[in-house]
């Protein structure tokens, strides 16, 4: 648990970085700090590992004031990831990751073994371990940055816009990776971003900050979208918050419909299963491959609605947003639903989704 108690920071030149921030990041959760540039996100993050010393108030880590004790020692127990990864250019990937274990007193061999484990954890290929950081892509560097932060086995991670320098596709990959890791590791993570979408995807709770580190709202993402406390927050979460919120609403009452399906034989010329209707073509493992139009031509599947379960019998619902996306992106006017393993489950009728939306409209 990280607890900010009335933390204030006035820099030597008189700039007020933080007025008086009080906030608790819960054990095992991702707490996101989001807000406009210069609002004090980095400053508040750095008061935790004492790269910034507060001028008033205190930061408590697991109930202990961080101001007591040696800062270098403190930092070895806190993972830190920054935007440009900040890898050591003169150390190979494996040794970058081994840095913290070495500082913690492990032998180089033990530290490397530990580093290799962590690299595997973050999905980096063994072959990359011996490269120099300059020989990696931005996304790979960022993964190494995360690996380095994890290598010390710290229970607490501070992440300062770790994914904002990579392109959007890679960013989503890295976000997914982080969520997967977090599901395994259950770290207490303080995550800074200025991207509200990222905040909403990753945060168990999201703190929206105004300039001076003043807390505008601190709530779980769905609550932030449903009930922004004021104009600043609603302006910040954006106009399309209604649509985004659908990503948090389960499509519980959505009934799947039956669609005509047929095996996707190689190079086949057979027509639709039912004349005049759209047919879903399934591959050998029951996964939808494409639509076959009434005209006999193949069409892209569009995005699919993923229900939560990973076996066909499970009835867990996916999100309303997933259902809507599937219905709207399909050329057939109906979406395709799959289970967690990607197997065909049924169809999503656009009218059903819209009716459901109507009933769950915010307020």
């Amino acid at each position: 648990m990280i607890e900010f108690r009335d933390v204030g920071k006035r820099f030597a030149d008189g700039t007020v970085g933080l007025e008086s921030l009080s906030l608790t990041a819960r054990e095992g959760e991702i707490t996101v700090l989001v807000g406009p540039s210069g609002c004090g996100k980095t400053t508040s993050l750095r008061t935790v590992n004492r790269m910034v010393e507060p001028t008033s108030g205190a930061v408590l880590l697991a109930g202990r004031d961080v101001a007591q004790g040696d800062p270098a020692e403190l930092r070895r127990g806190i993972g830190y990831v920054i935007q440009q990864a900040g890898l050591f250019p003169h150390r190979r990937v494996i040794d970058n990751v081994a840095t913290v274990p070495v500082l913690q007193g492990l032998s180089r061999r033990e530290a490397r073994a530990r580093a290799a484990e962590v690299l595997e954890r973050v999905g980096l290929d063994d072959a990359l371990a011996q490269r120099w950081p300059a020989q990696l892509s931005g996304g790979q560097q960022q993964r190494v940055g995360v690996a380095r932060a994890l290598a010390g086995d710290a229970p607490v991670l501070l992440m300062d816009e770790p994914f904002s320098a990579v392109d959007p596709v890679v960013r989503v990959e890295l976000q997914d990776e982080l969520l997967r890791l977090q599901a395994d590791l259950g770290k207490t993570i303080l995550f800074v971003t200025h991207d509200i979408d990222e905040a909403i995807r990753l945060g168990d709770r999201v703190a929206v900050l105004r300039v001076g580190g003043r807390l505008a709202q601190f709530a779980p993402p769905d609550e932030l979208l449903a009930q922004p406390v004021d104009d600043f927050v609603s302006g910040f979460v954006g106009r399309d918050r209604g649509y985004r919120r659908l990503g948090f609403l389960p499509a519980t009452a959505l009934r799947l419909v039956d669609l005509p399906t047929r095996a996707d034989a190689n190079g086949d010329t057979a027509g639709p299963a039912v004349p005049g209707e759209w047919t879903v073509l399934l591959d050998g493992s029951e996964r939808p491959a494409a639509w076959l139009g009434p005209d006999g031509a193949r069409h892209d599947l569009g995005s699919v609605y993923v229900t939560d379960g990973d076996d066909a019998a499970a009835d867990a619902a996916g999100t309303l947003r997933g259902a809507l996306d599937a219905a709207l992106s399909s050329p057939a006017g109906r979406g395709v639903a799959v289970d967690g393993a990607g197997r065909y489950r049924g169809g999503v009728d656009t009218d059903d989704v819209l009716a459901l939306l109507d009933r769950s409209a915010p307020r």
Binding site: R75, F88, Q135, L158
Partner: protein, 211 residues
């Protein structure tokens, strides 16, 4: 090997020692001074102009003045060695400061964040990363030391420069030429050695270029 009535091996060894030892000594002195200039704007305002000014003092003047100041014998090689050390320091203080400045802030921030203390940061991160810029500075200092050693011959301190001064007096062109070619070759040889050392210490520096 003997030629022109001189033991050439002895001259070469004297030449190399007189040029190389001051460069190493100068580097050792310039490192803390450059680090200080890197850390403190005040120190930099004094150290950088001062070292620049030192470099403009004519070498002969230094070689002649040092015995007066320190009481060393006029024919002692220490006078030349000290002069070259001063020049090296003058050249390298700025190199060191700039090499340390050039270490990206993201890297030093990351190093601090993982728990390096200042000394570990300097020796484990900043200095290794300063190697390419430092190597460039050392090469300039080394080449200039090899040529300045010959000036010592004017006041009777033995080196390949002795072949130049004596050859000139005896109007013996081959002897002068041998002195010049020899000292140039030595300068090149050690330049290549410094370059190789720098590269060995910074294999990462060429990694970005796809090597």
């Amino acid at each position: 090997m003997r030629a022109f009535g001189y033991d050439i091996d002895e001259l070469v060894i004297a030449h190399v020692l007189l040029a190389v030892v001051p460069v190493i000594l100068g580097l050792v002195i310039a490192l803390p001074l450059g680090w200080w200039a890197h850390r403190s704007a005040g120190a930099r305002r004094v150290l950088v102009p001062l070292s620049g000014a030192l470099y403009t003092v004519p070498s002969l003047a230094l070689i002649v003045f040092i015995p007066v100041l320190l009481g060393t014998p006029i024919l002692s090689p220490v006078n030349v060695g000290l002069t070259l050390t001063i020049y090296t320091v003058a050249l390298l203080v700025r190199s060191v400061a700039e090499a340390l400045d050039a270490v990206p802030a993201t890297v030093t921030t990351a190093a601090t964040a993982v728990g390096y203390r200042p000394a570990g940061l300097l020796f484990g991160v900043q200095l290794p990363l300063a190697v390419p810029v430092l190597t460039a500075g050392i090469r300039v200092a080394s080449v200039s030391a090899f040529s300045l050693v010959t000036v010592g011959a004017l006041v009777g301190i033995q080196s390949l420069g002795t072949l130049m001064t004596d050859g000139f007096q005896q109007d013996y062109t081959a002897m002068v030429a041998t002195g010049i070619v020899g000292s140039v070759l030595l300068a090149f040889l050690f330049d290549a050695l410094w370059l190789a050392l720098g590269r060995t210490l910074s294999p990462w520096a060429r990694a970005g270029a796809g090597v």
